[in-house]
Symmetry: C2
Subunit: 490 residues, 2 copies
């Protein structure tokens, strides 16, 4: 007999559809009627606010300061960097007029054309680069370490909530340095910040690696990525960090006088991550009953559900619940005392992914115990916790949940990563499977395109920290010193 | 002899220019090369982040949840509300194309015109109203209490940093209620939230009042405002709260089934405040030496300045400074150990408005006292504080500074508010003075326009909580039950 689940279809039945249903059941977000744009609803935005807070702390701890730059990029700015404009000019939102007036028929039409069209920022290298070129004069002004939280627009044709939308929210770091070495260090440091954030805040294990030339950020010298494995065994690029060399410094004119008094171009980096984190979160941990939230980013970490069978007990039970809430200092707690059935109420919070649920009724008060349910376990598994120990237990459960989610995801990633050393096996594998394939690989742009066309598989990254063991490229047979991760991807 | 000041010109010499210079000296923001848009630099953005945090707490404490809605408003949405579109369609940024392609000469030009132009949100009533119309079905869905932090764009011709820019940052609350009474209560509650925030966070005294019809938000039934007096005795509208009646519910189709089962339009409100808060802050407290920050929104509340006269003392002094910093738990402290002259360093932080400066040199270590300077006092006034008492003293000084700034601004506002009961005196007053004039007033749109033209004076608001004492309208001589505040304004 098929197990009843809160989400239909299940992951096994239809993964992409399951993803949409989890979002709807948890009331995270929805497609707006504005083409390609999403509305992030309060529960989804609450998660984003916690992500922002935790990632922002890490960005500041590493010496960066937040600032804010204009939404608009003049067309002429975008054109300064040839590769960059190739990458971003294709699909963008273009402001051409600044007035609406009524035509003869009474319809509003755009009037007052702009002298120069403005692009809604798809990314801010050029607009921030212009500011850097004025702010940086001397080596004393370096390093300059800036971050911005903002909305950006890329005109996407096929959109999916949190994964790919026309407008999305993100943070973008932009830094300038006096030496190539420093810029490289920064690029990798921020990649590490993303990886730590993924682990500590989201319980997502990631692989850090370098992108191949074909997948590089337009205009960058090197692009690094963190790749996570979703439960359908596809890869999701969760954040990227770019070493821009002196390319953008040259196109934006970011020059400084070095210690010797010579004028020199700065070395710059940029790194970004988006509301896509929420998509990664959903697809890493959620199950067929809905969202599962890692405690650090759960808007409520614990919900107290009063079980009121008789009206005369109402006051006492609610009073008891309030007392429990007060004990749980520093934990995000809510009491759900809505007058609806207990089952409906429990399922409401299961689907929203709240890590812990407490039930408190007459029996619990009499016995001085509380029934506690962990979202990461089966929804019938109860722990009876004595009132006295509640605060300690809750704290340790939240810690355990985070560890459990991470370990489970890491195990899943390991179980679905295999070494393959010849092309036939590779084709065999991807025709009936998904997962991460580790294979020796020599860079070859044409090869990558063919692989995408034939297998829908791409080189996700060349993982960092490899031993350098030689092998034969799985495609060309040429000698290769590194392995790449090949996978289907979001 | 003229006193030397860090800012030239002084407030008395040229107030508007002084304002620009304070911003530059504190490195808060700058005009970008993108028309009308500003760059908020790290120190300015740090202030904004603290404002956001404190105001956001108040918005959440009053039951509101944050969410995020699209940047784009389709033209057809804006047209649904006749008055609203009149107010906002005139000067806005219009997206008409979504692709850039090279023409024959190799220049990028906008292609792929949109079927329907998109307006960059000047405010989000229509886009949020569309969502509300789907989210609200029954009285059980009400009240719906939403807030959004976002960027908005209004195509301004004359811009001033923080006060009026094409793009600015703000929060906008949008709520829907089952009854008119509830919506009215909400409108005034949020006005009160703004007034408390102005006092508690920014030490700015404000007057709460209702706007006249001429100054109402386009489409609103009533608009309430908080008005603050700047040091040039002009008024600055710091935040507004709008009772929208059923106007927007009707144009957006926000209907619900009431308890009786009848379909009914909701009552909605909206309320907003912007990066203009920073302008208000600057013009309320700053002096001829630069910015003066109220402690709650100071990115650093205290700076420790090591005074190192001999290199052999360096280590010991810096060690001592670190120890002091550790003692000041919960206070935002920085140690400025840059290798520059002490005077230059002090002035750097004076201009940035940091509330407290500590100087620590060999003498201070020997005597176990610290020299403490308050930014709100003359910059030569020193307090010698014993090391033992430092933490307590610093906390009480920060509290005192906040009270002192508020009291000073309140006294200034009171000293520059006068009752005037006839037109001749009014004209006399404004031809040589500035300030708030309280005068009996009966609403008359034509009158208001004439007053603006002739005197450059507007009705700022009809203050709330008036006794209802009757008098004669200062213009028409008709009986009037309320007094209005008349002033020149930003």
């Amino acid at each position: 007999m098929k197990k009843r689940t809160a989400i239909t279809p299940t992951r096994a039945e239809n993964y992409p559809q399951w993803y949409q249903e989890v979002i709807q059941a948890a009331d995270l977000a929805e497609h707006s009627k504005v083409r390609g744009c999403m509305i992030i609803k309060p529960w989804g935005f609450g998660i984003w606010e916690l992500m922002q807070k935790l990632l922002d702390e890490k960005i500041k701890e590493t010496g960066h300061q937040n600032a804010y730059f204009p939404l608009f990029v003049p067309l002429s700015y975008l054109q300064k960097e040839a590769e960059h404009v190739e990458g971003f000019a294709k699909e963008c939102a273009i402001v051409t007029h600044h007035r609406l007036e009524k035509d003869a028929a009474g319809n509003l039409i755009p009037t007052s054309p702009l002298e120069e069209p403005l692009i809604i920022r798809p990314t801010s290298e050029m607009i921030i680069g212009e500011a850097f070129s004025r702010w940086i004069q001397s080596y004393r002004d370096l390093p300059l370490l800036i971050n911005q939280w903002a909305n950006v627009v890329r005109w996407e044709m096929r959109t999916r909530l949190f994964l790919r939308t026309t407008e999305f929210l993100w943070q973008e770091g932009h830094t300038a340095h006096a030496t190539e070495e420093e810029a490289k260090t920064e690029t990798l440091k921020m990649l590490q910040v993303y990886a730590s954030f993924a682990k500590e805040a989201l319980a997502i294990p990631v692989i850090m690696g370098e992108k191949t030339e074909a997948e590089r950020f337009p205009g960058a010298v090197a692009t690094y990525t963190i790749e996570a494995m979703m439960q359908d065994r596809k890869a999701l690029q969760a954040a990227t960090s770019h070493m821009l060399g002196q390319n953008f410094a040259k196109s934006c004119g970011i020059q400084f006088q070095n210690v010797q008094g010579d004028l020199q171009y700065a070395w710059t980096t940029s790194w970004g991550s988006t509301t896509r984190w929420i998509g990664a979160l959903i697809m890493t941990h959620s199950d067929d009953d809905g969202l599962v939230l890692p405690p650090p980013v759960a808007p409520f970490q614990l919900v107290i559900l009063p079980i009121i069978h008789s009206e005369e007990m109402r006051k006492e039970i609610l009073h008891y619940c309030e007392a429990l809430k007060k004990e749980l200092v520093g934990i995000r707690v809510t009491i759900d005392d809505r007058p609806i059935r207990g089952g409906e109420k429990s399922w409401h919070w299961i689907k929203k992914g709240v890590p812990l649920r407490l039930e408190v009724g007459q029996r619990e008060i009499e016995r001085e115990t509380i029934s506690l349910y962990r979202r990461d376990k089966g929804h019938k598994e109860v722990e009876a916790v004595s009132k006295r120990e509640l605060s300690i237990k809750v704290r340790s459960f939240l810690k355990e949940i985070q560890e459990h989610l991470y370990e489970k995801a890491l195990q899943f990633q390991r179980d679905n990563t295999i070494d393959i050393s010849n092309k036939t096996s590779l084709i065999d594998f991807f025709s009936s499977n998904d997962g991460f394939v580790l294979a020796h690989y020599c860079e070859d742009k044409g090869l990558e395109e063919r692989m995408k066309e034939e297998l829908n598989v791409s080189v996700r990254c060349i993982p960092l920290g490899q031993s350098g063991e030689e092998g034969k490229c799985i495609f060309t047979g040429k000698r290769a010193k590194v392995r790449a991760i090949l996978a289907k991807a979001y």
